[in-house]
């Protein structure tokens, strides 16, 4: 099985996630699309690890999964805090920090 197939698939997954991050308004779905982008990167890392026969790429993918879990925990905490303060759960409305 040619490794470049996996790389093209990872590029597709990454770009679908990027489209979702830019076009969705619910912050929960934006976080899900960020997960998609990270998974696209993960697939490319594992494919390169297989290509070179080096386990370092798999460790990198494992660390990326840890980072994704941290990002989910903090992001969901922010969403719950937004909901508690009865602010709209919508990334277009939450523009107080816009310069």
């Amino acid at each position: 099985m040619d490794v470049s197939w996996f790389l093209v698939l990872s590029a597709f997954i990454f770009c679908i996630g990027a489209a979702g991050v830019m076009s969705r308004r619910n912050p929960l779905v934006v976080l899900l699309c960020l997960e998609l982008m990270l998974n696209g990167g993960n697939l490319a890392l594992v494919a390169f690890a297989r290509m070179h026969g080096d386990g370092g790429g798999q460790i990198f993918a494992l660390i990326v999964m840890v980072i994704a879990a941290c990002e989910v925990a903090v992001g969901l905490g922010i969403i719950v805090a937004i909901f508690r303060r009865r602010l709209p759960v919508d990334v277009d409305e939450l523009s107080d920090l816009r310069g």
Binding site: S4, A11, A19, G20, S23, M65, V66, A69, V72, V80
Partner: protein, 176 residues
């Protein structure tokens, strides 16, 4: 060999379908379920790349634990459908266009560049490649510092999430 290719195309189509479902479904709850399906198909792809430990961790940690967190928050916040707004702004149109341009560019970069100089069939790997024993020895010998840094990062994220999401007396009454 043909079995491997069949599995690749089945899992690839499943992963792409799950990804499209995450972006296209309007109810956040269904988006989470689509992401779970996407993660499981991705684990099959990891198995094809001989990353057994990573595939197991993907299913147990990601599809099992992280997604449960999502489901709880969707249930708490209320998974209401996004209203379709016609005045969505330029980003709604530019986002998919940008993603299409990005995928074309990435495919050109991946398929047309010097990547073809590398043996893309992959080198021969020994039998224990990607096994828990190999991953464990790599984590505790060669990559000990990233491993410890990741564990501290998890601790910081857990404490931060609790601090962010806890009930604040003063603020609640002030804004209510």
């Amino acid at each position: 060999m043909w079995f491997e290719q069949l599995m690749f195309f089945l899992a690839g189509i499943g992963a792409l379908g799950g990804a499209v479902g995450v972006v296209a479904l309007r109810n956040p709850f269904y988006s989470v379920l689509a992401l779970v399906a996407h993660l499981i198909f991705l684990a099959v792809l990891f198995l094809l790349l001989q990353a057994e430990f990573l595939a197991a961790a993907q299913v147990v940690v990601y599809a099992g634990a992280v997604m449960v967190l999502y489901v709880f928050v969707v249930a708490y916040v209320g998974g209401s459908d996004e209203p379709l707004r016609p005045e969505g702004g330029a980003l709604r149109v530019l986002g998919p266009m940008f993603a299409f341009v990005l995928v074309v560019e990435l495919c050109i970069a991946l398929l047309g560049s010097s990547l073809s100089l590398i043996d893309s069939q992959g080198t021969g790997v020994q039998a224990q490649f990607g096994s828990p024993a190999e991953i464990g020895s790599l984590l505790l010998q060669k990559f000990l510092v990233p491993f410890e840094a990741a564990s501290y990062l998890l601790l910081v994220a857990a404490v931060g999430a609790v601090v962010l999401a806890r009930k604040r007396r003063g603020l609640e009454e002030e804004t209510a």
